[in-house]
């Protein structure tokens, strides 16, 4: 167990280390001049020199790399070049807002897992229709769903769904965005639970348990659920990736204060330090979710350890 965990943690840390180093290479080694990109047609040597010293591009590479690693270790991610704000502090302010949005959307999405389970046990055409509807809706990118919602809000109902000034904690502004964010997870949860449970309930060992007259609720059902748990675990990283990227569009459309909308705004202003910091933070969060799911795996199914 410990060895398994160590191996997974090491692999995840290696991923993060490579991403972090790639970010550094991107900034410092590749022949691109962010000063030129940022200034565009307004390029002149004096402004370019100022930008280069802001990025620290005028120091030797090894020094830059070590400085960069040291800063990361201390949770310092540099300062934004458009607002001058320390990135670490901005992240601590914005990360919780994104988290609230994601949790809110999970509140909408998780019940569909139970509906999917119900769909596996009761043969009804209704569940097929539900699945087909969710499938088509989830095929639509979330930014399109958001744009359509805002558009319909204005054209049909004459209301602007985008708050002028949404401070943190204004939960009513999160209702629509979280609903939109929940469409894809709802489909995935519904489908995975329905498919897995339907498959497991048809397997010989379940039939054998039933034939032995073992009680449905205390023996058969928990056995089947264990398999569903494993399937759910396998889609967790998929959902994490979905949320980490979808908050970009949703927070941007509804001008919410999370890290997604922040990253988009920074990218529009060519605020390289902020954008690269979001890359590092995303990689860390995503890999942490990966470690967590691989740690839970053997608890549900010990066979994972032997694989």
């Amino acid at each position: 167990m410990l060895r398994y965990l160590m191996a997974h943690a090491a692999a995840a840390m290696l991923n993060v280390a490579v991403v972090v180093s790639l970010v550094f290479v991107l900034v410092n080694v590749l022949p691109s001049d962010p000063a030129r990109v940022r200034l565009g047609v307004r390029y002149n040597e004096r402004d370019a020199a100022v930008i280069r010293s802001q990025y620290g591009l005028d120091r030797p590479l090894t020094t830059q790399y070590l400085l960069y690693l040291g800063q990361l270790a201390r949770g310092e991610l540099g300062t934004s070049i458009t607002t001058g704000e320390p990135i670490g502090r901005a992240l601590r302010e914005r990360l919780p807002q994104s988290l609230v949005l994601i949790l809110f959307s999970l509140v909408w999405a998780v019940p569909w897992a139970f509906l999917g389970g119900l769909g596996a046990m009761r043969r009804s055409r209704l569940f097929g229709i539900v699945e087909a509807t969710l499938f088509s809706l989830s095929a639509v990118p979330v930014f399109v769903l958001g744009a359509v919602t805002v558009f319909v809000g204005i054209r049909v109902f004459g209301v602007s769904l985008v708050p002028r000034d949404s401070g943190p904690g204004a939960l009513q502004f999160l209702v629509v965005p979280s609903l939109l964010l929940a469409v894809y997870p709802a489909f995935v949860l519904f489908k995975v639970c329905r498919d897995t449970l339907a498959r497991v309930l048809g397997e010989p060992y379940i039939r054998a348990h039933r034939a032995l007259g073992l009680p449905e609720r205390t023996v058969v059902f928990p056995l089947a659920l264990r398999n569903v748990g494993l399937s759910l675990l396998s889609i967790t990283t998929n959902l994490a990736a979905y949320y980490l990227t979808s908050i970009y569009a949703v927070e941007f459309i509804f001008s919410l204060g999370g890290i997604g909308g922040w990253a988009v705004g920074a990218a529009q202003n060519y605020d390289v330090p902020v954008v690269l910091a979001t890359v590092v933070v995303t990689a860390v969060i995503y890999n942490a979710v990966g470690i967590a799911t691989s740690a839970l795996g053997p608890l549900i199914d010990p066979r994972v350890l032997r694989a």
Binding site: L244, Y270, T282
Partner: protein
């Protein structure tokens, strides 16, 4: 089955050729021609899809945007498929050797960062040109294809026909291409699902203002402007949106259709 796929590919090629043809007829000057006195005018015989906030023709811009998205995704996909075939094929063949491990490491690293986050970073750093976006998308999209090819390779290389080919004295290069030829179907499936993702990612990037820059049109940025000016007219968002939805749903349906019979036959 093979017929269906062929017909589908043919239809896709025809649609793309049609868009490209209309795009060529239109020419570049009309796409960005501003006519402020005609701004926000609804669909008419003169402007089939109406005009936008600067009086530019929405039909012309929708076609140009579709041509832009289509060519970008097609190029990125072609590059990704080539890299994926080569990297995955070699890794599958050479299992456990240094090159294979290197491919595995790269696959893991790319998979440890959601694509969009990477695209945003790359386009912020290298600028928002056509080729930068193509390169960024190819750099991420070869991974799912390489994984499929690698698995297929690892399984096929123990098949009797491979042993026979070797016994008959065929060279390694011939054997490699023979196995690759057998991996066609899974590669096609993987490529189609990559195509869906790329169309969504490209339009999403433009929607966020991080793709092709104005005044050049792309479906994503047109949807955004249309949403912004929703009160001034319904046509600016609706037409590019329908074009994008049609592309995504078609690709998605196609990838579903060809993957379901194949999956059951291989499992």
């Amino acid at each position: 089955m093979r017929n269906q796929v062929l017909r589908l590919l043919l239809a896709t090629a025809l649609v793309m050729a049609g868009v490209a043809g209309v795009r060529l007829i239109i020419g570049s000057a009309t796409v960005t021609r501003v006519a402020v006195e005609q701004r926000f005018s609804g669909p008419s015989t003169q402007h089939w899809f109406g005009t936008d906030e600067l009086g530019r023709d929405v039909f012309v811009r929708t076609v140009a945007g579709a041509a832009y998205s289509g060519s970008l995704v097609a190029l990125a996909l072609a590059a990704a498929a080539s890299i994926g075939l080569l990297a995955g094929g070699l890794a599958g063949l050479l299992d456990r050797r240094l090159l294979a491990r290197l491919v595995d490491l790269l696959v893991n690293v790319v998979w440890s960062l959601p694509g969009l986050v990477f695209f945003v970073a790359v386009t912020t750093y290298f600028g928002r040109g056509f080729w930068v976006i193509v390169a960024a998308m190819a750099a991420v999209s070869w991974v799912p294809i390489a994984r499929v090819v690698r698995l297929e390779m690892a399984r096929e290389k123990r098949a009797p026909y491979v042993t026979s080919l070797r016994a008959l004295g065929y060279g390694e290069r011939y054997v490699f291409s023979a196995i690759l030829a057998n991996a066609r179907a899974p590669v096609l499936i993987a490529s189609l699902s990559v195509a869906v993702d790329l169309v969504a990612a490209e339009s999403g990037l433009s929607f966020l203002g991080l793709g092709l820059q104005p005044p050049d049109p792309s479906l994503g940025s047109m949807i955004y402007t249309g949403m912004y000016y929703a009160a001034s007219g319904w046509w600016m968002t609706t037409f590019p949106l329908l074009a994008l939805l049609a592309a995504i749903l078609l690709l998605k349906a196609a990838s579903n259709r060809i993957s379901s019979p194949l999956r059951t036959s291989t499992e």
